[in-house]
């Protein structure tokens, strides 16, 4: 079984396996979708070589889906990507609902940077990942804290796309791929089960070392053992009728 078939199998299993009644979004540091149907969020992250701004929309019940769009900008290289991603996941907990396990699958596409380093060359990033998160909510009636952490394994594919003029000059198109790990740890502050503020750390590791083939295959703006910090502000809305 080749890599892509294994990946498809894991994603399928993650979407089918959960059998318990589920509420979602806990591992993302937000209140569940048992009370509301939608969540809108804005996020900011500072990577080693770029800053990322994004907005997302989530909905679900037993399972959730998040669609997000954003942009990442490397100021030093004046290089920008336009990022789109789709995440599917679920929260699994026992009856006490003290600890949540949250499998997820993620597909993201980053278009750009365009005219990278004034070279008339464009890039495209495709990232597929599966992983799991763990969260332990600490609740009161109007305020919750949701510490959580997660890890996922990701396969990234970076394509270099020369311009037509460059092609005519013999500049080749190439694609590089690599598998890496992405870890996260954050703390969601939830107010009235509606507003969430979540600072978060993320770490990328397991990339091919520099000097070896496929070193371009790294998430845009990030590098090996890059510990970045970010914050997400989310708003739950669309209260469910009882």
């Amino acid at each position: 079984m080749d890599h892509s078939h294994r990946l498809a199998g894991v994603i399928g299993a993650l979407l089918v396996l959960p059998a318990r009644p589920l509420i979602s979004q806990t591992c993302a540091g937000s209140p569940s979708f048992s009370e509301t149907r939608f969540r809108a969020a804005a996020s900011f992250a500072s990577y080693a070589y770029a800053t990322a701004l994004g907005a997302s929309f989530s909905t679900g019940g037993k399972f959730y889906a998040t669609f997000s769009g954003g942009t990442s900008y490397d100021r030093e290289q004046d290089a920008r990507t336009y990022d789109l991603s789709l995440t599917g996941g679920a929260d699994i907990t026992d009856n006490s609902a003290r600890i949540y396990f949250c499998p997820l699958a993620l597909l993201s596409i980053s278009l750009g940077p365009y005219d990278y380093l004034l070279s008339q060359t464009d890039y495209r990033y495709i990232d597929v990942a599966v992983g799991v998160g763990v969260a332990v909510p600490i609740r009161s009636s109007r305020f919750s804290m949701i510490p959580g952490m997660g890890g996922r394994v990701a396969r990234i594919r970076v394509s270099r796309i020369p311009s037509e003029a460059e092609r005519q000059q013999g500049v080749p198109q190439w694609t590089q791929s690599d598998t890496y790990w992405h870890f996260s740890a954050g703390l969601g502050f939830v107010f009235k089960q509606t507003l969430t503020i979540k600072p978060e750390f993320t770490l990328v590791t397991g990339l091919v070392p520099p000097g070896e083939p496929n070193t371009f295959a790294a998430p845009f703006g990030r590098d090996e053992n890059d510990l970045s910090v970010g914050v997400t502000v989310a708003f739950n809305f669309g209260r469910r009728s009882r």
């Binding site: 500072s46 080693a48 070589y49 490397d74 100021r75 030093e76 290289q77 004046d78 290089a79 005219d115 990278y116 380093l117 004034l118 070279s119 009161s140 009636s141 109007r142 305020f143 804290m145 703390l187 502050f189 107010f191 503020i197 979540k198 600072p199 750390f201 990339l207 520099p210 000097g211 070193t215 371009f216 790294a218 590098d223 910090v229 914050v231």
Partner: protein
């Protein structure tokens, strides 16, 4: 009765965590690594009105990487009395080992047929830069900017100048006998040079014929590195 939720405490704690983390990762603006060599690149240095002095340095630790916003301080003195502080920055950008690299201070301007690159000299000056070399045909020139941190964006914006065909970044090509001739730890600072009477701390070195220009660096463990050149 349930205790009141500590809203403000939560918000303050969250914001504090983000601010503290951002501060934690902020670089020190002044760095003093141990240098093994400090020299003046006389191949490209032009000590005359409108010229540029190129000071280079090699840290002892080749894994040293200067971050954006950081500088390694050197002082430039002339025997005719000028004194300027300058900050070494990276020779090559970006500092990451993976990916493409370019010279942090330079880009090249190519002009369309019938245009002379010297006609955009005012725009180069307005960008806080100077021509390093101008082709005798006037069709292209290499430009050095004295503030490197926005080089790519500014080189891109230069494409909109009248008569400009395109701009591109420059790299370093090693002689086949000297593989890996550069390191990402290498440092450089170009300092503008003019002729005339010395004006202290104006960011420009004023020189006169026969002057000796001395660049000094105070090593972190004590001792001083020096490089000298005589103005022709």
């Amino acid at each position: 009765m349930r205790p009141r939720a500590p809203h403000s405490l939560g918000i303050v704690a969250g914001l504090y965590a983000v601010i503290a983390c951002a501060d934690l990762f902020g670089p020190d603006p002044i760095v003093r690594p141990q240098l093994r060599q400090l020299f003046i690149d006389d191949l490209v240095t032009r000590l005359r009105d409108g010229g540029i002095l190129y000071v280079e340095a090699f840290p002892t630790d080749t894994t040293f990487r200067l971050e954006i916003g950081q500088r390694v301080p050197v002082q430039v003195n002339t025997t005719s009395g000028d004194r300027e502080d300058a900050g070494l920055y990276r020779l090559l950008c970006p500092p990451r080992d993976r990916g493409d690299h370019y010279r942090c201070f330079d880009f090249v301007v190519f002009m369309r047929e019938g245009y002379d690159v010297r006609t955009v000299g005012d725009r180069v000056s307005a960008m806080n830069g100077r021509f390093q070399l101008v082709a005798s045909s006037g069709r292209f020139a290499s430009v050095t900017l004295f503030d490197p941190e926005d080089l790519v964006r500014r080189a891109r914006s230069a494409r909109a100048w009248p008569g400009v065909l395109f701009t591109e970044l420059t790299g370093i090509i090693c002689h086949p006998d000297v593989p890996n001739c550069t390191s990402l730890s290498d440092l450089l600072v170009p300092v503008p040079v003019d002729s005339g009477a010395a004006t202290l701390d104006d960011g420009i070195i004023q020189v006169r014929t026969g002057d000796t220009v001395t660049v000094t660096y105070a090593q972190p463990g004590g001792g001083v590195l020096e490089a000298r050149v005589i103005v022709p």
